[in-house]
């Protein structure tokens, strides 16, 4: 039915006509990832780091192999610079609560774009409240870009700059190198949220020169329940653990505890080994596909989708690629006269899954002057035929609402 070389890798499409356009919320999983986790539980399940017997050693090996795989995937240099957490949100909270609270003082500033996901916004807002620091926003222009003038808000008062490499509403890349350079120039720490970017483009943390970066496995073909934090070694060494307890300690006496080295220090309690095994397999999947192939396939889909939507005069797309040079396969739009939730519900009756709502970006919605929008996010398993179905379905939605376009 679909002329797509990748779709067959994903069992969720096997017996359904599902058209899944919400990969930015969570991606579907290839069979190889699902099988890797199943095999782990069937053949190697044990508590890592603790047991002296072979099964536990194997679980430990698989867990640490996942760390190595991800470290090399983002060019981190040393696997010890990778911390496994639950999701990108937890990684950002660890940074805000542990690092933020330790460096911020009244009149200090944290700078983030207005287009950030709540996960890279609320933690900073809360730590600013606690410390008396100010949360300063870089506003986007009508195209979704950040102008040089806005960048001047990064000043000597700025202690932390945190931003998404690719935003989950505009689908545009911010000028990461420029922002990081500017942050370092004023002595601030630069944090990059790569939750959306890494499934579409290679991330090289050394080239970026960011101090920290965060990721979510479930958005890059891996399982839910695993988030990754990268940090420069000297930054991680300074970071106090947020959670304490089993496996993250060195010595515990009745009234004193010393903590293990990085990264164990940040991984309290029994970890999700199966999840890491799944992530390892997801990395292998992306490597096997290759970013050039991903970018080519997704790029064609994105252009096709934009072209098709541009023909519909009652569709308004938010953000423009020329604002930042590249449009990722994520298109946020509105349908004139129809609430986005109604659009999504009606599309669903035709088997088309799009996201509608505030996309965990309420401040941006307010900045755009809308309550909600629709979002189509694409991945390798999508096809042009699906986009045709989307467009036809949108036309039908307008008819149901009584528009005679």
């Amino acid at each position: 039915m679909y002329n797509n070389p990748y779709r067959g890798d994903f069992p969720i499409f096997d017996d359904t006509g599902l058209i899944y356009f919400d990969s930015a919320a969570t991606s579907q999983k290839p069979q190889s990832v699902i099988d890797a986790m199943r095999k782990y539980y069937e053949h190697a399940n044990a508590n890592p780091h603790r047991g002296l017997y072979s099964l536990s050693a194997e679980a430990t090996r698989l867990y640490e192999r996942g760390r190595e795989a991800f470290a090399s995937f983002i060019n981190a240099g040393d696997p010890r610079q990778i911390v496994f957490l639950r999701n990108a949100t937890e990684a950002l909270n660890l940074l805000a609560i542990s690092y933020g609270a330790s460096v911020l003082a009244p009149d200090d500033e944290v700078v983030i774009p207005i287009s950030e996901h709540h996960s890279n916004l609320v933690p900073w807002q809360q730590v600013c409240k606690r410390t008396g620091a100010r949360l300063v926003y870089l506003y986007t222009n009508e195209k979704g870009g950040i102008e040089d003038k806005e960048m001047e808000k990064i000043t000597a008062r700025t202690k932390i700059v945190s931003f998404a490499q690719v935003g989950n509403v505009f689908g545009l890349a911010l000028p990461a190198e420029k922002i990081i350079t500017k942050a370092h120039a004023v002595g601030a720490v630069a944090i990059v949220d790569c939750a959306q970017s890494i499934s579409h483009m290679p991330v090289d943390v050394k080239a970026l020169d960011c101090d920290f970066a965060v990721f979510s496995s479930h958005k890059m073909f891996g399982p839910t329940g695993i988030g990754m934090l990268y940090g420069k070694k000297e930054m991680l060494e300074k970071l106090a653990p947020l959670l304490t307890g089993g496996d993250m300690i060195e010595y515990v006496s009745e009234q004193e505890t010393t903590f293990a080295e990085i990264p164990q220090r940040f991984e309290a309690g029994t970890q999700d080994v199966a999840g890491v095994v799944g992530l390892t397999s997801a990395i292998a999947y992306i490597r096997a596909l290759g970013y050039p192939a991903i970018e080519k396939w997704e790029g064609e889909l994105t252009s096709y989708c934009l072209e098709k939507l541009s023909v519909l005069p009652w569709v308004v797309v938010y953000g423009e690629a020329e604002a930042t040079g590249r449009r990722f396969p994520l298109i946020t739009f509105g349908v004139e006269g129809i609430h986005p939730h109604d659009v999504a519900t009606l599309l669903d009756t035709e088997g088309v899954a799009v996201r509608a709502g505030h996309h965990c970006a309420q401040p941006l919605m307010r900045h755009l002057g809308v309550q909600a929008t629709c979002r189509v996010s694409l991945s390798v398993y999508n096809s042009k035929e699906e986009i045709d179905t989307l467009v036809d379905a949108l036309v039908r939605v307008r008819r149901i609402f009584g528009y005679a376009d």
């Binding site: 129809i338 609430h339 986005p340 939730h341 109604d342 519900t345 009606l346 669903d348 009756t349 709502g357 505030h358 309550q371 909600a372 149901i400 609402f401 009584g402």
Partner: protein, 148 residues
């Protein structure tokens, strides 16, 4: 295509029922309701007589077609009813939403029986009713204590 049918009716009543979207001159109660997760926003205004009858009811607000249409249909339904009759309709509406067959007394509101197939949108359909519940709760309590 129950959902598409729902929408066709919703759109119809939505269009014709713009008469309910207004402020009341003599409102005795005004109640605000929101769905934080989707941003639906309704304010009901009611004029309630001393013998606990809903003489008039209107709404203002913004949100999806379902939330707005449901509020408008609700207004038509309870206008002129006693607060106890409104309570009965409220119960019937929720019974329907939870899967029961629609009671004929629900009239146009019975179109929302399709909500059973769209759990993510139930909160839109019930927002107006929940707001009504808050608005009438004092009357309902009072009535229950001193049945007429």
């Amino acid at each position: 295509m129950q959902i598409e049918q729902l929408y066709r009716e919703v759109v119809l009543s939505h269009n014709k029922a713009q008469k309910n979207r207004r402020h009341l001159a003599n409102a005795s109660v005004s109640e605000h309701g929101v769905n934080p997760s989707c941003g639906d926003d309704i304010t009901l205004e009611l004029e309630i007589t001393s013998d606990h009858r809903i003489r008039d009811i209107s709404f203002v607000g913004s949100g999806c077609a379902i939330s707005q249409a449901s509020a408008s249909i609700l207004a038509d339904l309870v206008r002129g009813k006693s607060v106890l009759e409104a309570k009965e309709l409220f119960d019937l509406f929720f019974q329907m939403i939870e899967g029961d067959e629609a009671d004929p007394r629900l009239l146009e509101a019975s179109v929302f029986s399709a909500m059973a197939h769209m759990p993510a949108r139930i909160r839109c359909a019930v927002l107006g009713w929940r707001t009504l519940e808050k608005a009438l709760a004092p009357y309902w309590n009072e009535e229950r204590q001193e049945p007429r």
